[in-house]
Symmetry: C2
Subunit: 186 residues, 2 copies
């Protein structure tokens, strides 16, 4: 049964992007991390030139990306992640992650980078580690990650005011303070 | 006096992008580094929907980027750079780097990232370190970096066949083998 307040999925997508952009600007201002959303790849098919400085694109289409949407640096480490909103309340469909993105996640892990998903499901934000994602795919035939697995293996990110979604505190706990997760309080 | 073979600056720009994309694909295939060019940021002004899956962009303009064009990971370290072709044979105009990009370069340095320019000038490719760039700007009133400074402080990147521009070998030397630069031979 669809939840009325979540009917407009397109706006929900923009909502998550918006609070992440706000958060990333906060991190930049506070000099805590440098994370940017990559521009959406667009294939330009036709342009016209109004002046030397103004090019108008008359025809273009969105194209697919091989990577995840956000990347940058925190404490010298390479960080990459994608943010996904999930309308299902029972599981996160793996169709959200394209096959070449899955390969990309494995590559980043192999090169020592930090890679994860931020999953918005059941009104909660979870950081779900890239390695846990790969392990799940390798060890299951399921086409979605059940909510129980996300709750168990994921790390909750609390919503706040400033910053709105302090995922770097969770990154700090999960990747920089090993064996200390759960004791951290901001 | 313009060199006839360099009259088409637009194609020259594409040429450098092309050999870097080739090189980055090679690094990816060989599992040596993961470096991507960020998509050019485009501001979409008008779209039409042909079907649920096909969105046609009818009007858009190119917008400015705050970051550099290429970023990724090598040996766990965050790497970011921009590639610039320079038509002048005597100096590299600093107008090539926007003020917010200069701030971004400082930020990356402060966070322990590797950041540089690849400058194509006088038919040679040079890796010019971000810190050297910042130091030059801080210590000079000049609006361009003279070729002598680029030759002295920059690190030449040899053109090859596969990969076409092995800048990662130079990164290895400059950032991972301190005090050993110049002795390295590929």
């Amino acid at each position: 049964m669809p939840n009325k307040s979540y009917v407009n999925y397109k706006n929900r997508g923009m909502f998550l992007e918006h609070i992440l952009n706000d958060t990333n600007q906060y991190y930049l201002r506070e000099d805590k991390a440098i994370i940017y959303k990559k521009p959406t790849p667009i294939k330009v098919l036709n342009v016209s030139y109004r002046s030397r400085k103004t090019t108008i694109i008359n025809k273009a289409v969105f194209s697919e990306t091989s990577t995840l949407d956000y990347n940058g640096i925190y404490k010298g480490k390479y960080i990459e992640f994608d943010a996904k909103e999930c309308k299902s309340k029972t599981s996160f469909p793996l169709s959200n992650i394209k096959e070449h993105q899955m390969i990309h996640i494995k590559n980043i892990l192999n090169h020592g980078g930090i890679v994860f998903l931020i999953i918005f499901i059941c009104n909660n934000f979870y950081l779900f580690d890239g390695k846990d994602l790969i392990d799940f795919v390798n060890n299951n035939d399921r086409k979605s990650i059940p909510i129980e697995t996300i709750i168990k293996q994921g790390h909750i990110i609390n919503e706040g005011y400033i910053p709105r979604l302090d995922y770097i505190s969770v990154v700090e706990n999960v990747y920089f303070k090993e064996n200390n997760y759960g004791e951290f309080e901001k």
